[in-house]
């Protein structure tokens, strides 16, 4: 009885729809793969992909490629976000500089950054340096725009309090600016993490000898389609996991911010008096 009620509690209508959708997609995939509508080998069966995925996970070279991609993305993210926060604080704190340079940043942010790859290859070479540079470039734009936006929403009273205490510029940044703009900065950094991974992968696909992007394109060029699917699944899973991990890492820093918001939402008048 309790088993029935717990299974019905687990199988909510939303979960049921999700499970049925996954089953329908897998069935359609299997049918299409065996239907003969596509050329042989173009669309492998789900079980073949699962087998290739298992083989990939057992292969030591996958972890080498994964390590290279994560290293490039992490280093690019650190460099790109550090520059972006510095530039964002500089432009945010000066109305004149913001009016002068923000249009250029907005214009560059809306561009397909991949077209700059030839310049990065020419300047940094074909090794991991150009991938790190591409990752830094992809990280820079969402973080700098969030930093500027975050700076502009800081309560002026906080800035005036800092000035009245004659805080130096570096202490203003540490004690006033960064804590007051934590939320928008976190959103920008979260976007930056996603963009850094995409940036590295696009550069690796264009030209690289190692990394997940290079592995993907190598399998695709060799017409090893099952393994191409498997690497793609790994890339999507890694991207999702890194995003999730970054969100969890931010939580302790944002907890104070959240409790502040909760306090603000709480009624000021004591409950007994109402």
């Amino acid at each position: 009885m309790s088993t029935t009620s717990s299974s019905s509690a687990f199988l909510t209508p939303v979960r049921r729809i999700k499970i049925v959708t996954i089953l329908v997609i897998l069935a359609a995939w299997q049918l299409l793969a065996v239907s003969g509508l596509l050329f042989e080998g173009v669309l492998p069966q789900p079980l073949q992909v699962l087998g290739a995925l298992y083989q990939e996970l057992l292969s030591p070279s996958l972890y080498y490629d994964l390590g290279i991609t994560l290293f490039e993305a992490a280093l690019g993210f650190i460099i790109g976000s550090a520059i972006a926060i510095g530039v964002g604080l500089w432009l945010g704190s000066s109305n004149f500089m913001r009016r002068a340079f923000e249009p250029y940043i907005h214009a560059l942010a809306g561009m397909p950054k991949i077209i700059f790859l030839p310049i990065l290859f020419l300047v940094f070479g074909l090794g991991i340096e150009s991938k790190i540079a591409k990752s830094a470039m992809s990280t820079f734009f969402p973080v700098v725009l969030s930093t500027i936006a975050g700076f502009l929403q800081i309560d002026k009273t906080l800035i005036n309090v800092g000035r009245s205490f004659d805080l130096t510029r570096s202490r203003m940044v540490r004690m006033i600016y960064i804590p007051a703009m934590l939320r928008p900065l976190a959103v920008g950094l979260q976007l930056g993490v996603a963009m850094s991974i995409i940036g590295v992968l696009s550069a690796e696909i264009a030209y690289a000898s190692a990394g997940l992007g290079a592995r993907l394109i190598r399998y695709s060029d060799n017409f090893n389609i099952s393994s191409t699917y498997a690497v793609m699944i790994i890339i999507f899973a890694v991207a999702a996991f890194v995003n999730y991990l970054f969100a969890r890492l931010q939580e302790p820093f944002l907890r104070h911010e959240r409790s502040k918001a909760e306090n603000a939402a709480r009624p000021v008048v004591p409950v007994e008096q109402t």
Partner: protein
């Protein structure tokens, strides 16, 4: 009286264009904007000097003057026009398909909230996923042709429109729908006369994102597979090791992207 109204109506657009012209003049007369432009020109001048004097190799950075002059050469202008026509043709076709597919799906997810709740997190995950990485698969399935570019543009742009369309329909005030019902409108009339017009600004925000995503994806894949229009212009010159030509092509793609973004911003302001 009617004549006066006619005069007022015909004068309105002229006033609008005059005021936008004044706004433009005021913007470029802003000392900050002028300063930003002068810094940009100074950077170009410094690069020109560094390259011309041999401090930076011409095999790495082209002379800015050569890259800019290349933009005005008749041969390049013709190629740029053809590339723009091809890329924008693909972008517009993908966008039309995205709108035709995404708005009905958004409406379905709004009408069936349990499906909306089930697919909401999946749509958000897909929105953040590196969709362009799927291109090797579709190159194999569809072939190395414009249909793959079209499909990859579509796959990137359809998600933001679905998300925004559902959101747009969900935020239509109940009062408006109740007014429609009190006039005994059919469900389809309520959709076409109330729900859709009321949701247009939010849907347009989704279309704007979709347009940017579609353009970026199509140019990225054109660059990676050396096929199509604007993206291919850059990769083609880079693979021929035509450094000045590569810089010219990058500048051209950048100018086209900036112009398109400005047009989209303007259109969004008009819709709002």
């Amino acid at each position: 009286m009617s004549k006066a109204k006619g005069v007022a109506i015909s004068a309105a657009p002229r006033r609008n264009s005059a005021s936008s012209g004044l706004r433009f003049l005021r913007t470029i007369a802003d000392p900050a904007v002028l300063f930003g432009f002068l810094v940009f020109v100074a950077i170009l001048g410094a690069v020109q000097w560094l390259v011309a004097s041999g401090h930076i190799s011409r095999a790495i950075v082209a002379l800015p003057s050569d890259a800019i002059a290349g933009l005005f050469s008749p041969e390049f202008s013709g190629e740029l026009f053809r590339a723009c026509r091809l890329t924008f043709g693909l972008v517009v076709s993908a966008l039309v398909l995205e709108i035709l597919v995404a708005i009905p799906i958004g409406y379905f997810l709004y009408r069936k909230p349990v499906f909306g709740a089930a697919y909401e997190s999946w749509l958000a995950a897909l929105f953040a996923a590196p969709i362009f990485l799927l291109y090797p698969l579709f190159m194999v399935i569809i072939g190395r042709n414009n249909y793959t570019l079209l499909f990859m543009g579509f796959a990137a742009g359809v998600i933001p429109i679905i998300i925004h369309a559902r959101l747009a329909f969900m935020t239509v005030p109940d009062t408006l729908i109740n007014v429609g019902r009190s006039f005994h409108l059919t469900q389809s009339q309520i959709f076409w006369k109330i729900i859709l017009p009321s949701g247009v600004p939010t849907i347009f925000a989704g279309i704007r994102l979709a347009l940017i995503y579609t353009l970026i994806n199509i140019i990225a894949i054109e660059f990676l597979v050396d096929a199509g229009g604007l993206g291919r212009m850059v990769s083609d010159r880079y693979f021929r090791f035509d450094i000045a030509g590569t810089y010219t092509a990058i500048s051209a793609v950048a100018l086209v992207s900036v112009t398109l973004n400005l047009i989209i911003n303007r259109l969004e302001k008009m819709v709002r």
